[in-house]
């Protein structure tokens, strides 16, 4: 009986090996290890019937293995084809962007064809260029202006590092101590910007660029200064543009109404944005909205991080870049539409959670969030509330808040 058991083992799937097998790319040889060709000499020979049975079992296993091998090869071929297809379509897209769209930007950028292509994601090689064009340069910042601001920032760093406290700060708006703290803060934050990429930290290839853009900005806009969250935005731009162009895009981007409201921490205006968001939230996802209300989960808890960093901290970087693509196309509205897309994607999970689990989930989104699913989810969100669009709802709320709120507003839950 015991012998049979031992001999019979190969016919059963060896369970610990199964897990290993799944991880192997190539697996047919694994079965040969299981053949019991002949028994060790010290054991009695197998009965013919049993030997026959085992041979049969072995052959079946080989057939199975071959089948699996074939299937695996097919899967890999498919994968390769898919990758080729994607690469080809990216290649084609690059050509279209470079040869057709970019040279005719003004006339073409709002056409349906371009908008559709845009939604699918801008190829990385033209991304910076498209972002720059779409963000624009309302502020008319030149490379020379960047150089001037950077030179000033460098002067300050130098005087700070030699302990010069009598430096003449001619800019109004903030005290010398604030500015010093601001420079300290930039230093601190740079090391905490995409730490896992290891390129912005001291000694990393992009460290000086990030330092330059942020430093130059505090000289360009001392009234705004450095605010946490900026380092992430500057970093994403630096990954796609050279330093001076990154600075131009950065300054113009922060000058947009929504970004200005947040980075100046204009409390009442931020609340207005949250209120507008809730109007569309209730309209698009009434059940989840009610669940959030019941649990006192206010939008500031998750939106602040998402809006301040334009999702670059909360989503995988390549996915965040795709969000930026469409944000550059559609403006601030898309940031809130994305938020609704995220909420919708996880609606089923979220409705089963209590306050703390939702708060934890939303402030630390799954790292493997699938891009196509998220975009499919965002696509289903219509930013329409009783025939009103985002801008209309926001304007109405802004008017309301100006009229009703004379006292100091506060973020109350």
């Amino acid at each position: 009986m015991e012998y049979e058991d031992k001999a019979g083992r190969p016919s059963k799937p060896p369970s610990p090996k199964q897990n290993v097998r799944k991880n192997l790319d190539f697996e047919p040889l694994s079965t040969t290890a299981l053949i019991l060709e002949d028994r060790p000499a010290n054991l009695p020979a197998k009965p013919a019937e049993e030997a026959q049975k085992h041979r049969q079992q072995y052959e079946e296993m080989v057939v199975q293995a071959k089948k699996r091998e074939l299937k695996e090869a097919q899967r890999r071929r498919k994968q390769l084809e898919e990758r080729c297809r994607v690469e080809e379509s990216i290649g084609n897209a690059v050509l279209t962007w470079n040869n057709e769209i970019l040279p005719n930007w003004e006339t073409m950028w709002c056409s349906k064809k371009v908008r559709d292509l845009w939604w699918q994601g801008i190829p990385p090689s033209v991304r910076g260029k498209v972002w720059s064009l779409a963000i624009g340069n309302e502020l008319n910042i030149t490379h020379e202006l960047f150089d001037i601001c950077l030179a000033r920032a460098k002067e300050r760093w130098r005087s700070l590092s030699i302990g010069g406290s009598e430096v003449d700060y001619e800019d109004a708006g903030s005290s010398a101590a604030d500015r010093e703290a601001s420079l300290e803060l930039i230093k601190l934050d740079i090391s905490r910007t995409f730490p896992n990429l290891c390129i912005f930290q001291q000694g990393g290839p992009y460290h000086d660029m990030l330092h330059s853009v942020l430093g130059a900005y505090t000289c360009y806009r001392p009234d705004v200064g450095y605010v946490q969250g900026m380092s992430f935005i500057a970093a994403v731009l630096i990954l796609n543009l050279d330093t001076a162009d990154a600075f131009i895009a950065f300054s113009n981007l922060l000058n947009k109404p929504c970004q200005m409201a947040f980075f100046r921490v204009d409390h009442s205006l931020m609340l207005t944005y949250f209120a507008a968001f809730e109007v569309f939230f209730e309209e698009s996802l009434p059940k989840l909205f009610a669940h959030f209300k019941k649990n006192n989960l206010t939008p500031d808890i998750y939106l602040i991080d998402w809006i301040f960093t334009l999702y670059s901290k909360s989503l995988p970087l390549d996915l965040a870049c795709r969000i930026w693509d469409v944000f550059c196309r559609d403006g601030e509205e898309f940031l809130f539409r994305t938020a609704l897309g995220v909420l919708k994607l996880f609606e089923d999970i979220l409705t089963k959670m209590d306050f703390i689990h939702m708060a934890q989930f939303l402030t630390r989104l799954p790292e493997d969030l699938p891009a196509e699913e998220l975009f499919a989810s965002i696509a289903t969100i219509q930013m329409q509330s009783r025939n009103k669009k985002w801008a209309q709802v926001l304007t109405t709320l802004q008017k309301d808040s100006r009229e009703t709120e004379k006292g100091s507003p506060s973020l109350r839950h």
Partner: protein
């Protein structure tokens, strides 16, 4: 004090982590809730959350910890998160005097927005960097004593006193709660805070176990 199972608890205490940017709030929290430390943790924007359930005697206490951004400019936003908190760790970096110099401001901010009877511990973090110390232990201890705060020096990096810090705060809250319960004839009416954000709405039973001080 042992670990209770995550979803089986009698009490929920909301605790906030506050203090200047870069003093190590996020690392203190990750050390306490996950026993992890990261040299390059990311900047906290807004607020992040973590929980850990611990046993205090026979009671399972779930600490619901709100890790807030330290940036001055964010203060208007983050102070709203103090509401309903029954405990706070006010953290400074003992190698940076500036982060200690502003502790009083943080304290005022906290008392303006949190429950009046909130348990506060002053925490001098980064005690592993003793060569770079800028804040003498005695100075901070005196300040804490004079202001009725608990005090400990910790190192999120080498774990020194991290457990003890959270543990002490939770025990202190628990002691207050127990005393209050004895004094109260209608224990079932006691709630944590007043039903604001951060509140587990819970079932009647759990609600009965949430406490306000």
């Amino acid at each position: 004090m042992g670990n209770g199972s995550e979803e089986d608890y009698n009490f929920v205490f909301k605790v906030v982590l506050i203090g200047e940017s870069g003093v190590g709030k996020t690392n203190l929290l990750s050390r306490f809730t996950r026993n992890e430390f990261s040299h390059d943790s990311r900047t906290t924007i807004g607020v992040e959350f973590s929980t850990r359930t611990v046993m205090l005697g026979t009671a399972a206490v779930k600490a619901q910890i709100w890790d807030t951004a330290g940036l001055e400019r964010y203060r208007a936003i983050t102070s709203a998160y103090y509401r309903g908190a029954v405990g706070a760790l006010l953290v400074f970096d003992l190698t940076k005097h500036q982060t200690y110099a502003v502790v009083e401001r943080w304290l005022k901010e906290l008392y303006d927005h949190a429950e009046a009877t909130i348990v506060v511990m002053l925490v001098g973090n980064k005690s592993d960097l003793s060569q770079a110390r800028e804040v003498p232990t005695e100075e901070a201890r005196m300040f804490a004593e004079n202001n009725g705060l608990l005090f400990l020096e910790t190192s999120a990096l080498d774990s020194t006193n991290v457990e003890l810090a959270f543990e002490t705060v939770l025990k202190e809250i628990f002691a207050k709660v127990s005393k209050q319960r004895q004094n109260s004839t209608r224990t079932n009416a006691i709630t944590l805070g007043s039903g604001q954000a951060g509140q587990e709405p819970g079932t009647g039973e759990k609600r009965a176990c949430c406490i306000s001080l």
